[in-house]
């Protein structure tokens, strides 16, 4: 009888303790959930603020003249960013012509040929990762030393060269990921028909992951379109339209930088306008890509 009483006592004590403790633990849990949610809000707020400010300040600068005219004299509200748009399109275009094929071929090597020489593949992967991590301003210096000093002038050649260096690792890693998604049974079926290796790789594997490779290229384009630092020491920036392969060209990010450092509010307004154009370009590319890649169900983790 006595023993039972004790038992009951213990039970109620433990129960009481557990209930009290559970309430405390639940409170801590919900508090921390709120804190973590506020972290998400903190991270998203700048995005909202940037988008609102760029649209509000940039949209007033927009006009046909703004998009096609060269910059006017300093301090004047006339003129536009025509050369910058042209320069960005051309520099990024040339960089893509160099960087995209090389990046895709490196991706093909890593995915299809690397088994024959494991050590080379290991170093290649490591070097590609190193290449991804080099600050873009350092790549710009390399472009200055190798191209600008050799050719004797700032030029679109140097700009396209440095942007292609930034592009290659991104395209290579995305290509490798998508090529690896092609099931081995497809390759084996093709080999069983007696098709040679390069035809299997090209017609079955590469053509089968065409949209994934395109995704990688577009992603890299949206990345290099916003680069500023490496362009400072390669294409320099100018207020003139493209005039040859041995003279400076302009680019949108460079123009934004130059405009923002001028002391005139009209220049700042034009800077916001150029930023709006740049952000529209880059964000629309990103959102389209994300929708396509989500539908196809492969991740872009190699690029972040």
């Amino acid at each position: 009888m006595d023993k039972e009483n004790e038992n009951i006592n213990y039970k109620s004590i433990v129960q009481g303790y557990v209930v009290k403790n559970a309430r405390k633990r639940k409170t801590i849990n919900s508090l921390i959930t709120i804190v973590l949610f506020s972290f998400v809000v903190i991270a998203v707020m700048p995005l909202v603020s940037i988008l609102i400010d760029v649209f509000r300040n940039g949209v007033t600068a927009f006009s046909l003249d703004f998009l096609i005219l060269p910059p006017a004299a300093m301090g004047s509200a006339d003129g536009g960013i025509g050369p910058a748009i042209q320069g960005t399109l051309m520099t990024v275009g040339f960089a893509t012509v160099i960087g995209a094929p090389i990046g895709v071929l490196v991706g093909i090597y890593l995915s299809e040929y690397s088994s024959s020489s494991k050590r080379f593949a290991y170093f290649l992967r490591l070097f590609i990762d190193v290449l991804t991590g080099i600050p873009s301003v350092v790549v710009g210096i390399v472009g200055y030393i190798t191209i600008v000093l050799t050719l004797g002038s700032f030029s679109i050649v140097a700009g396209a060269f440095v942007l292609s260096i930034i592009m290659i690792p991104i395209v290579a890693r995305v290509s490798e990921e998508t090529l690896k998604l092609i099931p081995n049974s497809l390759r084996e079926a093709a080999y069983a028909l007696g098709i040679s290796k390069w035809k299997v790789v090209w017609h079955i594997v590469v053509k089968g992951s065409k949209s994934g490779i395109t995704t990688g290229i577009v992603l890299a384009v949206s990345r290099i379109a916003g680069e500023t630092a490496p362009l400072i020491m390669t294409i320099l920036g100018t207020s003139l339209f493209f005039s040859g392969f041995s003279s400076p060209v302009d680019a949108l990010p460079l123009r934004i930088w130059r405009l923002s450092s001028q002391p005139y509010s009209s220049a700042h307004e034009q800077g916001w306008g150029a930023a709006l154009l740049l952000i529209l370009l880059v964000l629309s590319l990103t959102i389209i890509l994300r929708m396509v890649s989500q539908k196809r169900g492969f991740s872009l983790k190699a690029t972040t």
Binding site: T33, L283, T304
Partner: protein, 331 residues
């Protein structure tokens, strides 16, 4: 035609075809290996160009280039020291990391474990959109909008409350300083760190999480006792990747760090202007007056390159080790 003729004809056909495709095979393989060699060459080119370009200043200044604090490009009295910019880089990145790491890991835990999958995906997509915004746009926004918020709502209150007693808050804030630069850098690297952290957390085996739940853990207790210990080194790697990005970021820092030169670039308070390795390169590269100044800037690039190289290699090794061992242990 006899059977023999047919046989010979077919054999000939096959042979000619296979020799053709053998050529194709060799050609394509050469193409692919050539492209890979080109990529390797680019890395070697980076080493070579930086080494060659910074050789004059290293020979002239020796060790003083790394520990010196003066920056004098006047001809005949040239003297260049990188220490202030190394310190500026480290301090601005440290501020960025102190803010970004807890927030990013918190975001990763929240979107992976605390909300339903679909909402988590949408939230993380919105956070990752931040990564797509070019740094020049961050810079423009920080220069004309954000620095006034920071100055009026964070720096001034801190200065008024603690300025008299704590020397780190002593200087009257202006908005263009190492503190603002650190905060904007943090905003920039949050999407990077949280994206990699999400991958790391996803790789934590379900059995670990379920064991914690089975013992009656709340969501937070599960995260604390199952995810954080298991993903520790992966989260460290993610932070290192973010650090690599913060140290190398150029144009954004150039626009808001205040661009001090020489000894004054070593920030004495949080609200002092400073200068990083990359920002002084961006500021002075086109205006470099002599060969030594240009070489000094390239030397700064070399230091920056070595710093990011070390950080990235450490990060790559940590992350690859984690994801490898996790993929072995999964299920």
């Amino acid at each position: 035609m006899s059977l023999k003729d047919h046989k010979a004809e077919i054999a000939h056909l096959i042979r000619s075809k296979s020799s053709k495709s053998k050529f194709g095979d060799k050609f394509f393989k050469a193409l692919v290996i050539g492209a890979s060699a080109y990529a390797l060459l680019m890395v070697i080119l980076v080493f070579y160009a930086l080494g060659e370009g910074s050789l004059p200043i290293l020979l002239k200044e020796g060790l003083h280039f790394i520990i010196g604090t003066d920056w004098n490009p006047v001809e005949g009295r040239e003297s260049f020291g990188a220490l202030p910019y190394i310190v500026g880089t480290l301090i601005s990145s440290a501020i960025a990391m102190a803010i970004a790491v807890p927030i990013s890991i918190g975001i990763a835990i929240f979107v992976n474990e605390m909300v339903p999958g679909k909402i988590g995906t949408i939230l993380s997509f919105i956070v990752e959109l931040l990564a797509a915004i070019p740094s020049i746009v961050y810079g423009l926004w920080a220069l004309f909008v954000f620095r006034f918020y920071i100055r009026d709502y964070v720096e001034m209150p801190l200065h008024n409350a603690f300025g008299d007693n704590l020397s780190v808050f002593a200087k009257t804030p202006f908005g263009l300083d190492v503190f603002t630069a650190g905060i904007v850098l943090a905003i920039m690297i949050i999407p990077i760190i949280s994206a990699v952290s999400r991958e790391v957390i996803k790789a934590v085996p379900h059995s670990q999480k379920e064991a914690a739940y089975a013992l009656g853990a709340t969501r937070w207790e599960m995260a604390k006792s199952a995810i954080l210990p298991y993903g520790k080194s992966g989260l460290l790697g993610a932070s290192f990747l973010g650090l690599g990005r913060a140290i190398g970021e150029t144009i954004l820092v150039t626009m808001i760090i205040g661009n001090a030169v020489g000894l004054s670039a070593i920030p004495t308070t949080l609200f002092s202007p400073s200068q990083t390795l990359s920002s002084i390169i961006a500021n002075e590269f086109n205006e470099a007056s002599g060969d030594f100044q240009l070489s000094a800037l390239i030397g700064l690039g070399l230091i920056l390159f070595i710093m990011t190289l070390l950080i990235n290699v450490i990060a790559i090794f940590i992350v690859s080790k984690v994801t490898k061992s996790n993929s072995n242990m999964r299920e």
